[in-house]
Symmetry: C2
Amino acid sequence: MAAAMGVRVREASPRGVVLEAPLEPNMNHRSTAFGGSVAALATLAGWALVHLGLAAEGVSAHTVIQQSSVRYDAPIHAEFRAVCGPVPEHQWARFIRAFRKRGRARVYVQASVEVGGERVASFEGAYVALPPQTPPGAA
Amino acid sequence: MAAAMGVRVREASPRGVVLEAPLEPNMNHRSTAFGGSVAALATLAGWALVHLGLAAEGVSAHTVIQQSSVRYDAPIHAEFRAVCGPVPEHQWARFIRAFRKRGRARVYVQASVEVGGERVASFEGAYVALPPQTPPGAA
């Protein structure tokens, strides 16, 4: 999917993730970006932020999305980016503590979708970290 | 995007839309469906329901998504479907009346994502109908 969308990684660290997608493979019949592509790019950016953050902590876990919401503010006429800053420090610390204690924890990630530095959509996702050995069917 | 996802239309009328996607092009690294693909399929199904409903009323409009949320209940290991029933009659009637009066109206659409008849995710989207001549930049 990411390949079909033409996703490029511009930044990827526990401090921030920026993913970029060209308009053309993600266009709807109005020649603007399809809402589903926008949601998908932000979902992936949020997932990457959590995944990289866990790895940086030396925590072995797998991460799944539990809930997400997107608000679409403006049509997208050009290449767009999903931009995730870091999770606020106290929330991240609580997430890691909870995972270490219970082997399962949830964290919320915000992302903005931008065109030329202007916000065109807002995303929030709840991601859950699970033990790495969890079979997918039990997640 | 829909082509890259392998989307097939199983049903498409103002009474209901069913879109199906195979697992393979929508798989994540865990061999389950990528959340972004799930959101995209449901976004498209909801959009199609509104679009077909407006056409059936003889209303000339274009439809954009304004807000959406997805709850992911279970990992997806197989072909999945986004299933939209009709919008409840009184809500639909209010939407059409509002559009005819003001040239702009919003309607909420629910969809479930299913595997073999079992719900694996829930979607709600708010779609806005705008005059057909609205340039994309003004939506």
